[in-house]
Structures are given as C-alpha cells and as structure tokens.
C-alpha cells in the first residue's frame, strides 16, 4: 500500500521511541524517566496517526465538498492515547513529588530501593 511513502514517519517514530527507551534505561533521576516516557508516547502516537494516511487525503473535517478524507479512526485513537499519556505523566509527577518529600532525593539508586 502506501508504506513506501510512510518511510520517513517510521524513521521518526522509531527514533523517538529509541531515545525514550534509552532515557528510561540509563537515567536514575525520576523526572528524566518521566520525560523519556513522554517521548515514547509521542513516538507511538506519530506512528498511529500515520497508519490512517491516504495519499492526497485532507483532514477529516466535514465542510461540504466531498474531497478524499484521511481515515479518521486512528486520529480518534490518538486523541485518547494522548489524554491517557497526559494523565499518566501527571500522576507520575505527583508520585515523584511524594517520593521527594519522603526521601529528599529524586535518584532511584541501588541502595535506597526495595530490592530482591
């Protein structure tokens, strides 16, 4: 289908996801982890929107002239995904604030953490 056209989109979203994952995997600071999660979400949302792309389609807004519309369903999905991403990030920040108030640090290092 139109995957050759979507090549750049794939590159951008996988790059975004890779950076996000790198951030989660290496950083100790809670805020940095939250940011990298945000990055992963944006990467995925870009991909979903790209799924609905039709060559030459315009934005799916009904204004009378029946031009070719891009598939509206993924965009609906992305809307909910973005809302969910925001709420998760808000909750994460609240938790990080609570943790900071309790322990005075935002670092999740080897000793202070519940392990084994």
């Amino acid at each position: 289908m139109t995957y050759e056209l979507l090549q750049p989109v794939f590159i951008i979203s996988s790059a975004l996801i890779a950076i996000g994952l790198y951030g989660v995997m290496t950083k100790k600071n809670m805020l940095k982890i939250i940011l990298s999660i945000g990055l992963i979400d944006t990467g995925v949302n870009v991909l979903i929107v790209a799924m609905g792309y039709l060559p030459g389609g315009t934005a799916p807004i009904e204004n009378g002239n029946y031009a070719v519309y891009v598939d509206p369903v993924p965009q609906a999905l992305v809307l909910t995904a973005i809302v969910i991403g925001v709420s998760v990030m808000a909750l994460a920040l609240a938790v990080a604030m609570g943790y900071y108030r309790k322990t005075g640090t935002l670092e999740l290092d080897k000793e202070g953490v519940m392990k084994w």
Binding site: I17, I37, L91, A94, M114
Partner: protein, 462 residues
C-alpha cells in the same frame, strides 16, 4: 431472567464514581456506605449478566449504534461472565475491610470503583482499542491506589509500576497500530477472521507487541519487575484487590490474545515457555523472602505462571484447570493479603484469623477440598494425556518449594504477640474462606460454566 445490558456494568460505577465528591461534601462517612452500595449493585448486575449468559449464550451489545468496524462491540461470553462476576463480588468483599480503617478519603473510594469498572470492562469488551482504554484506566487507577498509602515504599512501588506500565501500554499501542494499519478494523472477531490476509512478518510483529504490552499487566516473567515492589508498597487492602481484579483481567487478555486474535501454534509454545519460566522464577524467589507481603507477591507471580501454562496447552481440560486456578488464586491470595502482617506481630495466633489463612494456603498449595486442587488435578491430567513429563516434573518441584516457604510462613506467623485485626477485616477474611470452602466442596457450580467457557474460548468465540 431479566436481560441486563452489559454496558451498565461499566457505566454505572463510572457515573457513581464521579458523583462521589458530591456525597463527600454531604458527609465523609457516607462515602464509604455509598461506595459499598454501588459495588453491591454492580455485583448483582454481574450476577444477573452471568445467569443471562449461562441461559442463552453469548450476549452481544452495540455501543453507539455503529456496526463493528466502526462502533465498539461488547461481547460477553461465558468466560467473560465468570470473571466479571468474580471480580465484582470479590472487590465488594475486599472493600468491606475499608470500614475498619479510621481515615476515609473519598479519593480512595473513587479510584476503587474506577478500577473495578475498568477491570470488568476489559473482561467483557469485544474491541481491541476499547480493551486498551480499559487497560489504561485500570493502570492509572492502580498507580493511584498503590500510592494511596503515602509512604516511601508505596511511592517507590507506584513509580516503578508507572514506568513499566507506560512502556507496556506503548507496546500495546504499537500492536494496535500494526493491526489497524493492515486490517483497518479493531474488533476481535473481525480481526480473527481476516488475520490471514496480513503478511506473516506483520502478524508476528503485532503478536510480539501485544504479548509484551499485555504481559506487563499479566505479571509474566521478564516483564513483571514491578510486581514485588508494587505489592509490598501497597496497603494490604490494595494488594488483595490487585490479586483479584487487575491481574485476573491481565491473564484474561493474554488468553484472548492467544486464542482469538492470533491462534498460531508458535504463540502457544511461547506462552508455555513464558509460563514455565514465570512459575520457576516466582516460586524460587519466594523461597528466600523475609517480608511476608513480598513473599506473597512472588507466590502470585508463580501462580500466574501456572495459569499461563494451563492456558498455553490449548485443550479443553487445561482451560477448565486454568479457570479453576484463576478462581482459586483470586479467592485465596486476596484472603492471604488481607490477613498478612509483618512477622514481628503475627496474626496467626488468634484462631479466627489462623483458620481462614490456613485454608487459603491449603488452596494455593493445591490441597483437595479447595479449587486449587481441582485446578492442579485437571492441569496434571491434561499434561499426562499429552505425555509432557518434563513440565509435570517442573510443576511438582515448584509445588514442593511452595510448601516449604508456606510452612515457614505458617510457623513464623504464629510467632510474636497476639494481634487483633479490625472486625470488618476479620469478617471479610471469614467470608472469603467460606467462599473457598463452598467452591471446593461443591465444584460442579463452577465446573459447568467452566466447561462452556473452555469450549467457547477454544472455538475462538467470546
């Protein structure tokens, strides 16, 4: 029987959850009673739905009038009905324990209702994205519940749960994106029909994305890093609720994935491998635990592995075993989490707590008159008929390891001075224990629905 539209099961709790602050303004104490009433209502509705499904087969419901490719379809099959009934009734019982608590924050009750509704939603929905949304609501609700204790451990547990949960949801979204990209539909059964048209690599990629995403919630081995810390951080009530609600929904989603969406042979083999690994790692890690709650968390991981093995054998007896194991684990583990306290002041000294806890442990180990036994017996029976001696050996060795660390738990629990639990907690524990005994002694009430559920699941239907 009056036919109950399944959507009520989700809509009512959400509606009443958002009315909760209004009730709170009226009187703080009333919120608890209000929430309990809502949960009881939801439980009765789920029972009616269960009776309805049992009587005249699968109940379908169109949301917002559109037909499947566009609209969301709720398809409640026998397995969905059983799990919905299980989740709702047990969450009401576990909520009972909140009455013993001094502080009564409205936020806790709201989150509780929210997560119950969304877990039920996962179980009865027929649409992939709709399941994702319910997954996310459960996840967010659970993050909040874990953090509700406001201690260092709970914040830390919540944070880990958030990080891994969001990575998981990202993977699910990727899976949905690939599937939607090719098949332009999100309905399970529609996907199942047209899954072959997808090119094989895309199909495999979507399966990988989905199994990782759902796996995080279903506590499968490499993905369940958050489980021990989340359960240890959460309060007893929340941990007990987790072991019945969200984890059951997670394992249901895995079942839905490998039976309806992508019923491919290598999928079952992967699930079997994951199940075996989860079982071994879960049980062995539990052997060396000092903190009882963390031990129970690892034991939950082990039990999830066992259920996964049962699911992955894709034969009728194995599925019946999976259902029995799910019901047994939900009842017993929630009971244990309610009753467990740190060893210094063990709760096993007063007989009112010791006897139900003892029954709970017996069911988990797989002792006869309890559902755990019927699950293990059927699982072994199915494994024997397929001649899979190695897996049987693994299950046997892990069962022995399990009995060792539960023996230590039983002994150390009786140490320390006597400790009184609040009346409501004792009541909840006793109710759960009596439920365990009833299901154990009269298993046919669970057996007949389980047989139909297994048949329908195997056939790819809801």
């Amino acid at each position: 029987m009056v036919s109950v539209p399944p959507v009520l099961l989700i809509a009512l709790p959400l509606l009443f959850a958002f009315f909760a602050p209004l009730v709170n303004m009226w009187s703080r104490k009333a919120v608890k009673v209000y929430t309990l009433l809502v949960l009881i209502l939801n439980a009765t509705l789920s029972y009616l739905l269960f009776a309805n499904v049992m009587q005249n087969g699968v109940v379908y419901e169109q949301l917002s009038g559109f037909y499947p490719p566009i609209g969301i379809l709720l398809a409640v099959g026998p397995i969905g009905a059983i799990l919905a009934l299980l989740i709702n009734t047990l969450s009401t019982i576990v909520y009972l324990t909140y009455f013993g608590e001094a502080e009564n924050s409205v936020k806790f009750s709201m989150l509780y209702m929210l997560v119950t509704a969304s877990s039920t939603g996962i179980v009865i929905t027929g649409d992939l994205f709709n399941m994702f949304v319910f997954f996310e609501i459960t996840a967010v609700g659970s993050y909040g519940l874990v953090a509700s204790m406001r201690t260092k451990e709970s914040f830390e547990g919540a944070f880990k749960y958030i990080v891994l949960g969001s990575i998981g949801s990202a993977f699910i979204l990727l899976g949905i994106a690939t599937i939607y990209g090719y098949l332009k539909t999100l309905n399970f059964y529609d996907i199942a029909l047209r899954i072959d048209t997808m090119p094989p690599t895309a199909r495999l990629m979507s399966f990988i994305f989905l199994i990782i995403g759902i796996g995080v919630e279903a506590e499968i081995f490499p993905l369940n890093g958050w489980v021990p810390d989340a359960y240890q951080g959460a309060s007893n009530r929340v941990a007990s609720f987790f072991s019945l609600g969200p984890s059951k929904a997670g394992i249901y989603a895995i079942a839905r994935l490998i039976f309806t969406l992508l019923p491919i042979l290598s999928g079952w083999q992967l699930a079997l491998l994951l199940g075996v690994f989860t079982l071994i790692i879960g049980e062995l890690a539990a052997l060396m635990q000092e903190d009882p709650k963390r031990m129970l968390a690892y034991s939950s991981i082990g039990q999830m592995g066992l259920i996964l093995i049962a699911l992955s054998l894709h034969s009728e007896t194995a599925l019946i075993a999976a259902i029995f194991l799910m019901v047994g684990h939900a009842l017993a583990k929630s009971l244990l989490f309610l009753g467990v306290r740190d060893y210094a002041r063990g709760t096993l000294r007063n007989p009112l707590i010791a006897a139900p806890m003892f029954i709970g442990i017996l069911s988990i180990i797989g002792m006869p008159p309890f559902p755990g036994f019927w699950g293990k017996w059927y699982l072994m029976k199915d494994l024997a008929s397929q001649g899979a001696w190695l897996i049987m050996l693994v299950i046997i060795l892990t069962a022995i390891v399990e009995s060792v660390y539960y023996a230590r738990f039983l002994h150390r629990g009786t140490g320390g001075e006597k400790r009184k639990l609040s009346r409501s907690e004792t009541a909840a524990i006793i109710i759960l224990a009596s439920l365990l005994i009833l299901v154990g002694i009269f298993p046919n009430y669970l057996y007949d629905p389980a047989v139909r559920a297994a048949a329908s699941l195997l056939g790819g239907g809801p």
